[in-house]
Symmetry: C2
Subunit: 217 residues, 2 copies
């Protein structure tokens, strides 16, 4: 769909950068690692907290401690995922900008229980550390009870994407300044084993694959 | 100060990771590039949008289009800056986590005008592209009029920092799984000149310095 699902979801500013295509939205969510979750407190104030997330079909998954004030929210939340791709250097300060891909999701959180909750936690783990579920201890009953998992529909999701050099003001094109883009990306360093084994064991294949994947995106 | 400035600002979850020291907060804000700004709409819903920001002494600066619905907000906002430092691989899925530095600022935006507004815009530019103000056209009266600049006090700011390997459950220490950290960082690629000059001019020194700085942090 190239039209927003509802007026609420229509991108207000920079509509020419708006994307409502489901595949494009999922691709950005696949590439990101951190979501910024915004809620409204009982006092009516906004709170924005960074959290891990995952996708499950047409839904976003978010998890946190049951003791978290934020996770007690049941009213609609806003979940935003942003990937910074570059610094845009224009001949004017005004047109200098950033290249980025971002997704904004509005929705009321549904609290998962039972098997759905357990499966969601495995999916959240697999988003952060793909393949790790086969090389770690899974959640205990106590750990499950200590965690709240939200499922939020992607039906009210939109994306914004900015790419390429600056939209220079025509009057600036001949100014004697450099213009272009400084690309930036998140990269993984070499895995650092903890100190619980001495000497540390060799890094297992599934960890090396996670690193390779992080270096490729 | 090692105590939160007010109950509102006290970090609720993971209090052992909370930081209220001004220098630590400013260091994180210096290292970050993108803020996630949360507001509450007239209908009472949260909206979270990625934005550029800068610091000016005891204040945070944020700017956007005067036509932006978000920038018309005058009630308190929440500005969160997060830097992802690593993926924490625990022997249990439950203790697997992320290493990060984040700052959360609560405050009512003050709209800047006149010289304060112009100076704030130069400061915002200098945060994104240090030194660029001497190598680009500054803001015109029309561009100034098209931009809203907010100043938000850092008096209600807190930070959270997670570093190091997982907090393993004592019962998991001898499990035959790898544990450690996959460090991640944002790095700059080689500057890409735009197509307005053919052949492209050499990359100027101030752009190379921005790249060097991005590679060092």
């Amino acid at each position: 769909m190239m039209e927003p699902p509802s007026p609420k979801t229509r991108v207000q500013r920079g509509a020419e950068r708006a994307v409502y295509d489901r595949d494009a939205i999922v691709a950005i969510l696949d590439a990101g690692l951190v979501a910024h979750v915004g809620i409204v407190t009982d006092a009516g104030a906004p709170v924005v907290i960074p959290m891990a997330y995952a996708i499950d079909g047409d839904h976003l998954l978010v998890h946190g401690s049951v003791a978290s004030r934020l996770m007690r929210t049941r009213s609609p939340v806003c979940v935003t995922v942003t990937i910074l791709d570059g610094l845009v250097v224009a001949r004017s300060l005004f047109e200098s900008s950033m290249n980025y891909r971002s997704v904004v999701v509005f929705g009321a959180p549904e609290v998962l229980v039972g098997d759905e909750k357990r499966e969601a936690l495995l999916r959240l783990s697999d988003k952060l550390l793909p393949g790790r579920v086969d090389h770690a201890r899974g959640p205990s009953a106590k750990e499950l009870a200590a965690t709240t998992v939200w499922r939020i529909s992607l039906s009210e999701a939109s994306a914004k994407v900015r790419t390429g050099p600056a939209d220079e003001d025509p009057g600036d094109v001949d100014l004697p300044f450099w213009g272009g883009v400084i690309p930036v990306r998140l990269v993984a360093g070499d895995p650092e084993p903890d100190a619980l084994r001495s000497p540390p064991p060799p890094t297992p294949e599934h960890i090396l694959e996670i690193v390779t994947r992080l270096r490729a995106t």
